[in-house]
Amino acid sequence: MTDLFGVPIQALLGQVLLGLVNGSFYAVLSLGLAVIFGLLNIINFAHGALYMLGAFLAWMGLSYFGLNYWVMLIVAPILVGAFGILLEKTLIRHLYKLDHLYGLLLTFGITLLLEGVFRSFYGVSGQPYATPALLQGGVNLGFMYLPIYRAWVVVASIVVCLATWFMIEKTRLGALLRAGTENPKLVEAFGVNVPRMVTLTYGFGVALAGFAGVLAAPVMQVSPLMGSNLIIVVFAVVVIGGMGSIMGSILTGLGLGVIEGLTKVFWPEASNTVVFIIMVIILLLRPAGLFGKEK
């Protein structure tokens, strides 16, 4: 059995793995968007730009300070999170009382600004980032060749997603967060500092984007445009999944990545658009999204 529908199984599995890698990014990013949306009620357009920032921080750490991948995998998300907290405290905070659309527009402006800054320094061409020594090469599994770094991306993303899920669904902190999503006034009445919780949630959500950025640095070109290309697909993923559940975001992200990978094998021309096509179908059949609740 070396063929499946006339496609060599090796190529097929390779594309599925690539799809899973992309799906991991979709999952981590849409998870961050969902967490932020839950408490802040804004769609963070800047998520893509902050993912790009994470990748650039990893690259800058290595090129300017000689800090390796593993250090930056911890440091970059913290820095991105800190930057997010700064953004929330200085800008986003003032928009909560207004229509949610202003939050989208503000973060769109932040995206353009960040992209513009990086473009003026690094141009539009990508910077290469070497795969860390520990994760280079691959293993032959007999039926396919498995590049270790790609497997690492998938595993690390799933671990981070599950940890986030656990934190939100199973811990006391998560319970407060969910309560704050339902009724912030009541939670505040119980003596919880809700504004601080909101700030930290935003910081955490964008730190996830920064983490995804570092993971992406060795597999994607580190370029100022890497975020905006991705974020629009992630928006479609969010529409398909609905922002109702954490697990839903994770599953939708990974699933769509795999579907995209398979489309690359069977119908390459549609691989860019397949997520959007699925979005259209979902809108026709189940407008609230796969895991969303009709309001």
Partner: protein, 324 residues
């Protein structure tokens, strides 16, 4: 009401005289195309409260359709313009029918995603010539008037712009427009009063898409080309900025916004250079080299401190003085 009409007449005469005053016709035509685009967009965001993040699809789609029909099929100019506009209307019908199934933030994300889908289609489809764009669109003539002459084309663009502006004005100042405003203010209430919200939203979406298409078709004629940049999400963002900076839900706001954005795009380099010379800070030159950065900054300032926009702010002060 008569004062308003007089204001528009003065504006029309002023625009008509601009080429005679030595203004570069292509530049003003570009502004008029963008102004019409922004007015069309304002029908949705300003008067109905729907944020479409995918209006570039109509601008770009119509530009390609008009260009293709003129270059390949050899349509006469007028028919080509109509064809491009009609394609935008059909796109608007499809996109609108899907997007209005969700509201608020989802509406914005859906329109953005669908416009991006169309962008990828344009990127790959042979008739758009990919990154190169569709070049050498013949302008032809209308009613025997040769449009290869920039000044002749200028007056055609002006007529089209005022036609589009009038359609917007008529739409807003009609019972239909009143329902749209009701939707913006309180959708649940409009539903409870028995209005078929979906039909109203879809209709205004199609009108807006059609006028955006007219702007795109005209733009293809002005620049004798149709390129991918018209269909990018950055263009969708730019039209939001034009409307926001001028004033949401005002008639002249989007027009003024278009003027500001186009002038900025063309002059930002000089402006950065001037700031460098004035202040001695070399960083301003970097700012001048990046239009994206400047647009991002203005976006942030507008949203944080200037949400009424220029015209909106003027009207607000004017009305406050009147009541006081």
């Amino acid at each position: 009401m008569n004062r308003q009409l007089a204001l528009y007449l003065i504006l029309a005469v002023f625009i008509a005289l601009l080429p005679a005053m030595g203004a570069y016709p292509i530049f003003i035509m570009k502004i008029m195309c963008y102004a019409l685009f922004a007015c069309a967009f304002n029908l949705l965001l300003g008067y109905t409260g729907l944020l479409s993040f995918g209006h570039a699809a109509f601008l770009g789609g119509a530009a390609y359709a008009t260009g293709h029909s003129l270059v390949v099929w050899g349509f006469p100019t007028l028919l080509g313009l109509l064809f491009g506009t009609a394609i935008a209307a059909i796109l608007g019908l499809i996109m609108g029918a899907l997007a209005i199934r969700r509201s608020g933030i989802y509406f914005a994300m859906i329109t953005l995603a669908m416009a991006q889908m169309l962008f990828f289609y344009f990127l790959q489809a042979p008739f758009t010539y990919g990154e190169d764009g569709l070049q050498g669109i013949p302008r032809g003539s209308i009613l025997g008037i040769d449009l290869r002459n920039d000044v002749n084309l200028y007056y055609l663009v002006m007529v089209l712009f005022f036609f589009g502006f009038f359609v917007c004005w008529r739409t807003v100042n009609s019972p239909f427009g009143q329902v749209l405003k009701a939707l913006r203010e309180n959708e649940a209430r409009a539903v409870s009063l028995g209005y078929d919200v979906f039909r109203f939203k879809l209709l205004v979406f199609v009108i807006s898409a059609t006028l955006a298409g007219l702007a795109g078709a005209t733009k293809a004629l002005v620049f004798v080309s149709a390129t991918l940049s018209d269909a990018t999400w950055q263009m969708s963002g730019l039209v939001i900025l034009m409307t926001l900076i001028g004033g949401l839900g005002t008639f002249l706001g989007p027009v003024l916004g278009a003027v500001i954005v186009v002038v900025l795009e063309n002059k930002v380099g000089e402006f950065g250079h001037m700031l460098t010379q004035l202040t001695g800070i070399a960083w301003f030159r970097v700012l001048g080299e990046s239009v994206t950065m400047v647009i991002g900054l203005i976006f942030i300032i507008c949203v944080m401190a200037f949400r009424r926009g220029i015209i909106g702010e003027i009207l607000h002060r004017f009305n406050r003085n009147k009541t006081a």
